[in-house]
């Protein structure tokens, strides 16, 4: 495993390495979000080879995150760390993993199904992706705050909710456009557009689901 081994010295404490692992995990979530945006851009620009590269990268990072999560879980239990909030932290990591899974599935389905995105919808697809990714990035800020600056969690969570709502608005607009337009002749292609709009928006939905949990964990941790 590549990870942060190079940053660890012999004298780095166990607590420190675990911290580094967690930070690495959150950074993988960030990277997957940013890569999703890049991948969709490439797809919409018809640069399919570059899109596949980004999709493969997401796949790799998701796999790395999975391993990392398992290792963190093992160490939290084996080393009897944070007994009071261990369950919450593990719950958080597992739901964050759902965000990664959803991200991976978006690019995977684009790669498998190769949907024909009509030019008048490209802008909306890009905006929907960017907005969903904003929700993910804001979520990781909230998660990082949970570990270091508890009092700042709420402000980030509020933004996650905001971007999730925005994603819903764009998703609806996109779907309405797809079904109202005469440019798409086949009904199946309209349904296909709806399906992919929902898939992308699901990334924001998953982020919001983690945010809901995090809000409760933050209250519990608040002295």
């Amino acid at each position: 495993m590549k990870r942060t081994d190079e940053t660890r010295g012999i004298f780095t404490s166990r607590a420190k390495t675990l911290q580094l692992d967690m930070d690495r995990f959150f950074s993988l979530v960030d990277q997957c979000g940013l890569l999703l945006e890049e991948a969709i851009k490439k797809y919409l620009d018809n640069k399919l080879d570059e899109f596949e590269e980004k999709a493969a990268e997401i796949d790799k990072l998701e796999h790395e995150a999975d391993n990392l999560r398992r290792e963190i879980k093992h160490r939290l239990y084996a080393e009897m760390l944070i007994p009071d909030s261990r369950g919450d932290v593990l719950g958080l990591l597992e739901t964050l993993d759902n965000v990664l899974d959803t991200t991976k599935h978006v690019t995977m389905h684009f790669s498998i199904e190769k949907p024909e995105v009509f030019p008048f919808l490209k802008e909306d697809f890009l905006e929907l992706t960017q907005t969903s990714v904003k929700a993910v990035l804001e979520l990781t800020l909230a998660v990082r705050a949970f570990f270091r600056e508890l009092y700042r969690v709420t402000e980030h969570l509020d933004k996650v909710h905001f971007w999730e709502h925005e994603a819903d608005v764009i998703e609806e607009r996109l779907k309405r456009k797809a079904f109202a337009s005469d440019e798409i002749e086949l009904f199946s292609k309209r349904v296909h557009m709806r399906y992919f709009a929902e898939r992308i928006s699901h990334v924001a939905d998953e982020s919001e689901a983690v945010a809901e949990r995090l809000a409760v964990y933050a209250i519990k941790r608040n002295m």
């Binding site: 911290q19 007994p83 932290v89 949970f146 570990f147 270091r148 009092y151 002295m223």
Partner: protein, 349 residues
């Protein structure tokens, strides 16, 4: 020491055992209940530092208690201690936050009434006063400490994992302080009534002289250690997981503030220091640890804006002020009568 002496000490040993089983659990309950500190570590710390506190500075509070009434015959001390212990047992079964201090004070007053010795009103007022301002002081200290800890945590941005490590260390340090203070302050409840009629004589061991009173406190400390090892785990798990849901950090605040209250009412050094500077000092008398702890929890509750403040807990404290000493005094009086007239043992001289 004669066998009779040991027999008469048994009620004191039971009080010591009870102190170890119950009050030690108040110190490490949350830490052990939430698995922040292993029971073995908690038990070793409690056993060592309660005994150390008792031997090094247990005398101050014992003098304060002695001023109330010097039980001067060993059979009398046995009855006074047994009456207090039985009251503690009853009250615990009734689910009230019982205080060994209040029980022993009631039992001594019972002895005073029986023997005809006058109760020192000034000493009584001083002791009863601490029952009221012990919990209040606990609340005030916990209130301030809560804000200090929160301020520090908000400024330092410590990662949860690292904070976990620091919290464990803080809980252990507070536990050491709490154990020492408990031994220093509350051991008077265990062996205080045996001091005037102590069966021990002064000893010289390896060039160090150990007074009879210190030996008495050592025996009390050892009885407490036995209580910690044999029974406190169950109580700790109840305190830690059922009674008050405290987070490890709030548990630290509660232990530290409770220990400070007990320390303030036990330290002869602090008393001398304050008096030297013409400042008002704290009377050296045993205070109730459990009520100081409840006071501390109320302090935290107030710091959080007064939510979850359970008025029933307050009512139980006030009830304890009246019910515990009254029952102990009554029981002590009746038992002394039996000891003197049925078992033909002198209960006072």
């Amino acid at each position: 020491m004669a066998f009779a002496g040991l027999l008469f000490l048994s009620s004191g040993l039971y009080m010591g055992w009870s102190l170890g089983a119950n009050d030690a659990a108040n110190i490490f309950g949350t830490a052990v209940g939430t698995r922040m500190v292993p029971f073995r570590t908690a038990a070793i710390i409690c056993a060592i530092f309660i005994t150390l506190g008792a031997v090094v500075s247990g005398a101050g509070a014992a003098k304060g208690l002695g001023a109330l009434g010097a039980v001067n015959a060993l059979p009398g001390s046995f009855i006074v201690s047994a009456a207090a212990a039985t009251t503690v047992l009853w009250m615990t079964r009734a689910g009230l936050p019982v205080s060994t201090t209040q029980a022993i004070v009631g039992a001594i007053v019972g002895w005073n009434l029986f023997s005809g010795y006058p109760t020192d009103q000034e000493a009584l007022t001083r002791i009863v006063g601490t029952w009221i301002y012990g919990p209040i002081l606990g609340a005030a200290i916990a209130f301030l400490l809560f804000f200090v800890v929160r301020f520090i945590l908000n400024r330092l941005h410590i990662h949860l994992i690292r904070l976990d490590k620091y919290t464990r260390t803080a809980l252990i340090l507070a536990g050491i302080f709490g154990s020492y203070s408990l031994g220093a302050n509350n051991m008077a409840n265990v062996v205080g009534v045996f001091v005037p009629a102590s069966p021990f004589t002064d000893l010289r061991l390896l060039g160090v002289s150990i007074t009879g009173t210190q030996q008495l406190f050592l025996v009390g400390g050892l009885a407490t250690a036995v209580g910690v090892v044999t029974y406190s785990k169950r109580v700790m798990l109840t305190v830690g997981s059922a009674l008050f849901k405290l987070s490890p950090i709030t548990a630290f605040v509660v232990i530290a503030s409770t220990a400070t209250v007990l320390f303030l009412f036990a330290s002869e050094g602090l008393e001398a220091w304050l008096q030297m500077r013409g400042l008002p000092s704290f009377p050296l008398v045993p205070v109730s640890q459990s009520q100081a702890a409840v006071g501390s929890i109320i302090g935290i509750s107030l710091a959080k804006g007064g939510r979850n403040l359970n008025l029933k807990v307050l009512r139980n404290i006030v009830m304890g002020w009246v019910a515990t000493p009254t029952s102990a005094a009554l029981l002590s009086y009746v038992a002394l009568f039996f000891m003197q007239n049925v078992f033909m043992q002198p209960v006072y001289v």
